[in-house]
């Protein structure tokens, strides 16, 4: 009765589906994939698929939920003081899981992943930035700054992914510090003056 160990078959099925999905995303883009194609490639039958996932989307999410947990844990242990560290962590994480990120965050990845990542990163960052931002007395709303931070960070990530991870994570972090950090510094120092 206790500690039910997981059936080998379901693991096999999950693996096959995940791999098939990632392959197909790289080949033709997420939006243009049909469930039938995934099933054919993974050698899994319709009914089995719908016993596990509600959707094509559900499969996509489950596809990087594991990794996401990893990243989430790493970021949540950071001190709110270091503004640049979350971005660095993200880039290192992406570099370690290149294959998946290539499919999910690349040109072919579709809206869903971007939005998902953005929500998640945004959530974590809100805590980091809310305090310092309130003190700074800048007129900018917190969520605007957070949105800007995440979009900037994920934007550079997207470029990197689409250029096949040339240059290593440290280089990208350097670019981030040049392009993105100054703006954040400016707003955290309260240098914003509304024109109206």
């Amino acid at each position: 009765m206790p500690t039910m160990s997981e059936d080998r078959r379901v693991r096999r099925t999950r693996r096959a589906l995940h791999e098939a999905l990632i392959e197909l995303v790289l080949e033709k883009g997420y939006e243009r994939i049909s469930v039938r194609e995934i099933l054919d490639r993974a050698d899994v039958v319709r009914s089995t698929f719908y016993a596990h996932y509600q959707d094509k989307d559900a499969l996509l999410f489950s596809c990087f939920e594991d990794m996401l947990g990893e990243l989430r844990a790493a970021v949540s242990t950071l001190s709110p003081a270091d503004t640049a560290r979350p971005a660095e962590l993200l880039y290192e994480h992406a570099y370690q899981h290149r294959t998946v990120y290539r499919a999910l965050c690349g040109r072919q990845g579709g809206n869903l992943v971007t939005q998902h990542l953005q929500r998640m990163v945004g959530q974590v960052l809100t805590e980091h930035l809310a305090g310092p931002l309130a003190e700074s007395g800048s007129g900018l709303p917190v969520d605007l700054v957070v949105a800007h931070y995440t979009e900037t960070t994920l934007g550079l990530l997207g470029w990197w992914v689409n250029h096949d991870f040339c240059h290593g994570p440290a280089w990208l972090a350097g670019a981030w510090q040049t392009l993105a950090l100054p703006g954040l510094r400016a707003v955290l120092d309260g240098q914003f003056q509304p024109n109206r």
Copy 2:
């Protein structure tokens, strides 16, 4: 034989389809709309639709092609010197066409529009930035900087749209100058030093 004036009927059809599409995007998001719904709402028949447009996507593009031309013309007359002006122009343009931008660039807008806008803005900006950037001697690739510029600018636009255009275009341009401009200044002054 010369100067064939356009049939009223096709204009009526186009208008109806455009309006129906925008309404539906605002209600349920572009991805979840079916052609049938658009046709029902616009009181247009299947065969007529496919006589005009190849796709749901084609309709979407045609939906803001007119406005896009306007913007493109305005931006292309700018002097490459002023880094901040293109963003300002974009925000003013968006403010004038709030309804359409709300549908196209908002949460509900779908990938296509974002990518389209990004390509277009990116194309224009490449010319503006290529020269100054080459002189600056920064190690950063032009297309990375351009991508960053467009994503930043469109990102703020997205936030604005999703917050129902609170604050007027000048305010948003101010936020842009605080958040986005410093990074661009930094890279144009050659302050990037690759860590590896």
